[in-house]
Symmetry: C2
Subunit: 468 residues, 2 copies
């Protein structure tokens, strides 16, 4: 790792001149919000400096300067990450993209939108939907920046039908750590022109370049949505039904699983009551199609398959309000878990046929360590969210147990053909587990790629992996 230099008053002065005084923060108090993310128990690091560039040129100037004087730069979106990716663990400059929040173009003929990285997901939805277009991914938090979604290749509940963020990113503008600006891809789906830097930058967690513009593919909005909620006697039966559902060629957009402990927590935290809540395990399906008739037919087919595969009952809410209640319970589960004592969130992904086996292995680990783990997740795409709970333990006890639990959980996921992060990224919190999923040779190759972009290692250093 390089030798970094501190931010001197000379550098502060220069940055103020470049960006304007109001876009350079130096006070501890005003920099606090830039020191953590939304992990259950983030480890805050206050940066030496926060800058808020307003355009690509300003980003390039900040990076060129930081590269010249060897100051670490941590790019930051909405701060809604869960792995510490936007936390300035080595100090230096936090480069916040919050002021680069313009929707530059909605292109109705090509079904594309061109945005700056600081656009909030909720603003993106509103803008494209007002023009009759649709960005179908919902990664779980509407105050997230689209730039952060791209940097982590965020997934979410709708991956069964739509895939993940990378499947919608067609082009990027990005600034290399040296200050050079590159443009990749464009308003086209097909591209066989040299290496795909677009896809390499997606998911690179701000370690290779700072993304300053994103071209996203859009679709026509779906005509109708139905929600279906299916109680099962146990998780194993619920998960066993998943491949059978998906073989039906029904337009399933999301397919989630929940267990009684998660339902209990969310009911208590949100003060609501869900139907059939006395049962042990549930599938929550979201179906989507052109017409009410088509989607309702599909829901009926899913109901039949589930009944054949051990479901106790099937609930298709008939009012928009009842549908909303179910979806909200799922969406607000993570904050509810956080408030109820979650100490970490793990997002292993396994082949979807292996979810039942994986969760069984996790329950065994949980029991052996005496650490409760609430399992929920995206049954349709194999992405399991595990929240180890600290309740009944003091800080010292769980701090000792947690890394061992995590290591065993990751090893279990990898042994079933999975990997350690399906959608959150590794950031700082999870990088030490990467060697469970990847050979040292492969990590060394990645370190060489990092150097090809960032010879002085100034951009988001200490994230994803350590150099060998």
């Amino acid at each position: 790792m390089s030798e970094f230099k501190p931010v001197t008053s000379h550098v502060v002065k220069k940055l103020r001149l470049l960006l304007g005084k109001e876009n350079v923060l130096t006070q501890q108090e005003e920099m606090k919000p830039y020191s953590y993310d939304e992990a259950p128990l983030p480890k805050p690091h206050i940066p030496e400096l926060v800058v808020k560039p307003r355009d690509t040129t300003e980003v390039a100037k900040v990076l060129a300067l930081a590269n010249e004087v060897r100051i670490p730069v941590t790019p930051r979106g909405g701060g809604t990450g869960l792995s510490g990716g936007a936390i300035p663990i080595l100090g230096g400059i936090v480069l916040s993209l919050e002021k680069m929040n313009r929707i530059k173009e909605i292109d109705e003929d090509n079904f594309m939108v061109v945005v700056e990285p600081g656009v909030l997901l909720k603003d993106l939805y509103q803008a494209v939907e007002s023009r009759g277009l649709y960005y179908p991914l919902y990664t779980g938090e509407k105050s997230a920046h689209i730039g952060g979604n791209v940097a982590t290749n965020a997934g979410g509940m709708r991956a069964v039908k739509y895939g993940v963020t990378r499947n919608f990113v067609l082009g990027l503008e990005a600034v290399l750590p040296t200050g050079q600006v590159v443009r990749t891809g464009g308003k086209f789906v097909k591209c066989s022109t040299a290496y795909d830097l677009t896809q390499l930058l997606v998911g690179s967690e701000g370690t290779l370049a700072v993304i300053t513009e994103i071209t996203l593919r859009l679709i026509t909005p779906p005509g109708w949505q139905e929600v279906i909620f299916i109680p099962f006697p146990g998780l194993h039966q619920a998960i066993k039904a998943v491949p059978e559902i998906l073989k039906q060629a029904v337009p399933v957009m999301g397919l989630e699983f929940l267990e009684k402990d998660a339902i209990d927590i969310v009911e208590k935290d949100l003060g609501l009551e869900l139907p059939f809540h006395e049962h042990d395990a549930f599938l929550l399906g979201i179906l989507e199609g052109n017409s009410k008739e088509e989607v309702y037919q599909a829901a009926t087919r899913v109901a039949e398959v589930c009944t054949k595969n051990g479901a106790i009952d099937v609930y298709i809410p008939m009012s928009a309000r009842a549908r909303r209640k179910l979806l909200e319970a799922r969406e607000k589960l993570y904050p509810a878990l956080k408030r109820t004592g979650a100490i970490e969130v793990i997002d292993v992904v396994v082949p979807r046929s292996q979810i039942a086996n994986f969760v069984a292995m996790v329950k065994d680990i949980s029991q052996r360590y005496g650490m409760p783990i609430v399992a929920t997740g995206h049954a349709g795409d194999g992405n399991v969210h595990l929240q180890p709970m600290g309740r009944g333990m003091d800080g010292g006890e769980w701090a000792t147990k947690l890394p061992r639990v995590m290591e065993e959980v990751y090893r279990a996921g990898v042994s079933l053909g999975g990997t350690i992060s399906g959608e959150h990224g590794l950031g700082f919190e999870k990088k030490k587990y990467l060697e469970i999923a990847m050979s040292r040779e492969q990590i060394d190759l990645m370190a060489r790629l990092k150097r090809a972009f960032d010879p002085n290692y100034i951009l988001n250093p200490g994230k994803i992996f350590d150099e060998g």
Copy 2:
């Protein structure tokens, strides 16, 4: 560029020992089929040696040896490429993947298939369809290897609905030029675990690693397909109708455009007659959905939109035979053009709203140089195929004109927001035009990525770009 060494008798002996005598070719005559591809006028280079490894270990041994003694290695699939990517322009070893043609696993629960790179597309289709699954991409040539499709990120006619090869590749095993084996991705759609090497290798034309295993996503087969053939008074009207069609949220899988000159050539070459062939321009649509009723309704909607947008008539063939005839005419267009005097095939991609403008610019270039250019292509995704024709010119004349025509065509495409290759790759034939689409800084960055994988530059050297 590195100093390469010739293949000595010592190396031949060693390779024979490693692979068996029958898997090492040294005779000029038997190596001839490995010297060219399917470009209209390929420039053949006979290698010094052809090897046919049978598994990953053998690939690794060949590469380790070649890397040690500094011999260039050109990986080769079905040889159906159009840009010289598989031609050993600097001599050395051709590494043919033809013997690695096993379908290792069809995973019905996860909708995935795991294959070796040498599997022919037609064998892949047959194998997965016999198990009730479907690989929806058809890149135009059933004797292509899936490995070649992955290496070039091949596209094809179905991209409007399904995207391109990279959208179906979830995992790879690959051998680095140093002989190390890496495994990337896996049987999951979601992955935020470090850099996405899978997507970096897709489309890298065998310059970064030799792909030895591919995990592909599959889907459930569509229930019904309809073809629709729509004559227009001119290309401009035809192409103007495209965004209007796609705004209808109809399940269009492919949407092609053809002009009279292409129709004439294919009719003459194949000895068939197409309906409405007296008109000047055509759209050929393929629609696909769950039921005959759904697809027919969609076709009717497309017909309405086209009629409102200047179509002369609409033809929906009612027999499987008539449908087949139309599709075959489109699929066999390239070989027909080749036999009729095409001297090059260009596959610029532009934003689909710009196709009409792009083709107008191409016609102007064609006229100025007095070189006929037949334009056809994937109207629905902006990928235009241009075949400059050599008729009426001697070799000297077109050889002088062609590079200038190509450069102007590429500049036109890039000026409209497009890029120079949508699906064929750059190989050797088109690398000299890369700087039209990309800055020298960006090409230098790619050269550094290349070095991170291939420090001695032995793997498919001289392709895609030259080092600065």
